[in-house]
Symmetry: C2
Subunit: 596 residues, 2 copies
């Protein structure tokens, strides 16, 4: 939890701060003017962030003044002495604050190492861990390096997968495709829009990349302000306390008492002719300098389905090639409903099929040969783009882990419940660790909690259970907790009860959008308190719907509480409060009428 306001400077308020009753929560509250003993790690973190920018906020939360630059950002004074101005004008950042902050000298905490902590990896986990460690008094360096993609040489700035080639660009392109749909819906609602519309791929890519660059820029300034030394270099272990950093300008050896490996992963390529030469991945797609056109998406995990979904929404022609099952690891009933909803939108799925080779034709198009793994039948087709989405590989190879003695399992690093590797002073967090959900909020929270345990006296560990997630397909799927099959595996079919139902979102009626796959279910204990084990929802704004229920699951949600929570009408989320039909009853889960 960001102990200080990471706003670049704020007058240190006279009030003293006490921790919530649980020291680990790490949330600042001042106790009015009462003096109270501030736990050392709070006072040190407060003092480390002596901030000078005066931003007072009256207690009602209204801004000090209506025209304060808070949300809409103000214009930074040109050339205000804090390095070059940002690459472009962004309306949302508080430039004045960013430039007012002078670069501060690194002070060392003593000890024979260059740093208390070196974080290897400048993505979500690494940055969260590094910043939290600094807040807790550690001297921290963050090593970050991005190898260009093999096919197109795509590179990007600090911030890791999520910001540059993951959640953020994906969500923006998903939003762009939904907005294309919205234009057609607007016409049904009476707006005189011309429904023959086309996306401008280059303009979209430019807008997405502009936003990413602004995040990169702000992230660099934030790191600098928080006194995390950012080193743009590729790190490999010399021994368990020493790292060799390959920089643009040469090499540098740096030492630290503790290391956190947060290098994440990169998309895999199949081992077939032409795969690397001609196929791209999600690392390339969001900055592709040409329209994707007819695209073969190989892989039916969430990345493959999300990309195929927004490409179709943007008017291109994706086809999804599925080796075995869709959305491995997810509830398979829901996975098949998601696939069916995509097929209903005209996205073909090539099932039980694997690619054999990719060749570039004279006309520049790509000839893909492929085979049905069940029948052995071979076929081929021509595409403008081939997108590999067959999984992600942990970036262990460059780290020279054997030098540090760190063991690896299938290109991932196994860790214990404290994210410790087998080597005492070396930890790992984020997508690089073995067997944990590869999600940004997981990486961020785990990174922070690790830093608090290392430098803040906290004992709170990351809870990887009941992590909610969303697949941003055109009709989105979100879930939290156990799938139906995992619940059956864990408790036995006789001990679980599944409440389910199809529903019809009010907004879908006028544009007559398909409601065929709007479906949700609750997987629960069959007897006793009927604790809810898992919730699954296919429909609009799925992530927004499930997030609150994730907090409910963590609070011990039962079926009785769920169905006695008064709904908010008319929403789709209220359908969870109206669940009444069990699968076991065999009754039809379709709503009685189009509108009940």
């Amino acid at each position: 939890m960001n102990l200080c306001n990471s706003r670049f400077s704020v007058t240190f308020v006279r009030q003293c701060s006490t921790i919530l009753t649980s020291p680990s929560a790490g949330i600042i509250q001042n106790r009015g003017s009462l003096t109270t003993k501030v736990p050392h790690w709070i006072s040190s973190s407060l003092s480390c962030a002596h901030h000078t920018f005066q931003r007072t906020m009256n207690l009602t939360g209204q801004r000090g003044s209506r025209d304060s630059t808070g949300a809409t950002g103000g214009n930074a004074p040109a050339g205000s002495g804090a390095g070059a101005p940002p690459p472009f004008q962004h309306p949302h950042c508080d430039r004045a604050a960013m430039y007012a902050q002078p670069v501060r000298k690194m002070s060392t905490k003593g000890g024979s190492y260059d740093y208390d902590l070196i974080v290897i990896g400048g993505g979500s986990a690494g940055l969260a861990c590094a910043k939290e460690a600094v807040l807790n008094g550690a001297r921290v360096a963050c090593l970050d390096f991005v190898k260009p993609t093999p096919t197109l040489g795509t590179k990007w700035g600090v911030g890791g997968t999520c910001v540059n080639v993951g959640c953020i660009p994906k969500k923006l392109m998903h939003q762009a495709s939904l907005l294309g749909e919205a234009v057609h819906e607007a016409a049904a609602y009476g707006w005189n829009v011309d429904e023959k519309i086309k996306p401008d791929w280059h303009k979209l890519v430019q807008s997405v990349q502009n936003h990413i660059k602004s995040v990169n820029w702000v992230t660099r300034v934030d790191l600098r302000d928080k006194k995390v030394e950012y080193i743009n270099g590729l790190g490999s272990f010399v021994d368990s306390h020493t790292l060799l950093a390959k920089l643009k300008s040469g090499e540098r050896t740096i030492t630290a008492q503790t290391f956190v490996i947060a290098v994440g992963g990169r998309p895999r390529y199949p081992d077939i002719p032409g795969a690397v030469e001609y196929g791209i991945t999600s690392d390339d797609l969001f900055s592709l300098d040409r329209e994707p056109g007819k695209t073969l998406v190989v892989g039916a995990g969430y990345i493959g389905l999300e990309c195929a979904g927004f490409l179709k929404g943007l008017g291109y022609e994706p086809t999804v090639m599925v080796r075995s099952i869709v959305l491995r690891g997810f509830d398979q009933q829901m996975a098949e409903l998601v696939a069916a909803s995509m097929e209903e939108r005209g996205i073909p799925f090539l099932r039980k099929t694997v690619p054999l080779s990719v060749e570039k034709q004279d006309d520049g198009k790509l000839l893909v040969k492929y085979k049905n793994v069940e029948t052995g039948e071979e076929a081929e087709d021509v595409y403008d783009t081939v997108l590999w989405a067959i999984g992600r590989k942990g970036l262990v190879d460059d780290l020279n882990l054997p030098n540090a003695g760190v063991t690896v399992q299938k290109d991932k690093i196994p860790v214990d419940s404290q994210e410790a590797t087998n080597v005492a002073n070396i930890y790992a967090v984020g997508d690089i660790i073995y067997g944990k959900p590869e999600l940004t909020p997981v990486a961020v929270l785990a990174g922070r909690l690790l830093a608090r345990r290392l430098y803040g006296g906290s004992t709170q560990r990351m809870d990887y259970k009941d992590v909610a997630t969303t697949v941003f397909t055109p009709l989105e799927y979100a879930c939290v907790g156990l799938s139906e099959e995992d619940a059956v595996k864990q408790f036995g079919a006789d001990e679980i009860e599944v409440f389910h139902g199809y529903y019809k979102p009010t907004e879908f009626f006028i544009p007559q959008k398909s409601v065929r796959y709007c479906y949700l279910k609750a997987v629960a204990e069959r007897h006793g308190d009927q604790r809810v084990y898992g919730l699954h929802y296919i429909g609009p704004v799925a992530g927004e719907v499930i997030q609150g229920f994730a907090a409910a699951l963590k609070s011990g949600l039962t079926i009785n509480t769920l169905i006695n929570t008064v709904g908010i009408h008319p929403t789709t989320a209220e359908e969870f409060t109206r669940l009444a039909i069990t699968k076991r009853s065999g009754l039809d889960p379709t709503p009685a009428s189009c509108c009940s």
Copy 2:
């Protein structure tokens, strides 16, 4: 809870049913082929709903077959002998099932009254109560009548306020205005849309009214199938067991052992010259046969703000006239942020102002004179439309309640925790009862629970606490639990902690939508477990965001659980899991950068 599948007919499955451990939950589950003692009220309800339409569903929830008419509805055979065909073709209803069901004779349960139960009012509460009572074996009649609006003579069908002149049309017009905004956003995301767009009010009204009529129609068929006798007449008590029903065709006296009053309310008119002749209300707006144009919305409750919001979004010019405060009964900090977000969109607010008179000019426009209640200053302006949104009046006047001995409090009926009035056999539920939230899901759940208590042996009462609600303004506001001021009043300022923050939705960046009023807060216990008392959120899809958190609040959500719930990224709902700054700390709740 709808015990049977209200789908019109389903083969009675051989399996027997057991109730969840709590008999009140009223959810059917079959126990495979094991015979088990079925509580009388379940077996009776199952037997009452002997259904003949065969719809088997394999246990995975997939439809029996891909082309089943489930969601997308099939076409009903013309003239299939179940009364006139529906007013128009609607793609979503399963017409074949609706027509296949013959009208069945009413069988009486003995006793000296015409009915076990007469429900007065065919809105959300009344219908839910009537249908649940029938499912529990009662003989039920439902009396429903709509008096035309005084200004335009607007009338509507069965279903009450929500379906005809409330939630549903409001949400559809809100959606229409959001879609207008989406067209502009689509342009920013690269779609080649022409941004000079105009709504077709008549087409929108027609689409909305079409949808409403389909709901009316399906509701009538559902009532008939469930053997609830629907009487279109105005009811008034002769005595506590006798009702005089004024029908189109004359009068009819009907008796019942029990009455449930669910007549709801209608908009108030101010007592000023021209108010009734020239001003309209939300009862008229959704079927208005002309464009609203420049509109004065008098009243700043949620109905006034919602109407002003979508009118502005549709390109009209609303002004909101506020006598004292905005959104009375809501958290006032949030209420003012909502108002500020509307002013930012160009909707002027006339504060501390009351209307004095409305006159029609020769040009047909309306001259409104008004006065500032603080300065006494008077002014006037001309509008195309004047919309009264100054509150709703309970429809007690026509009921002749004194004849039954029922007491009234300020045009509402006081009830106890069992929704019983002061007269033993007369109950009241929904918007007509005194001092309870006037919301559809509240009315529906309360109506069902009342029916189960009356005829199902249940003891479960309606919990009116922690009811979540949403104000569908352009930037929506949703909340659950206590406002900050109510928490302070109840526990004292020193015993509550408010965690708050502004945030920036990812999708807002590219179209550079204002994030100035995207704000959320959690009001919690300051010490101990830090139970969450209330959650408040201003932002997109607010209702979808808060619904799950309402279930969490009911499950005992604490701050520690909230901030250790892993977020779903990128969503706006995840901002609740990132709350870290307290108001008491005085720290700036604005996110550190535009994108952190």
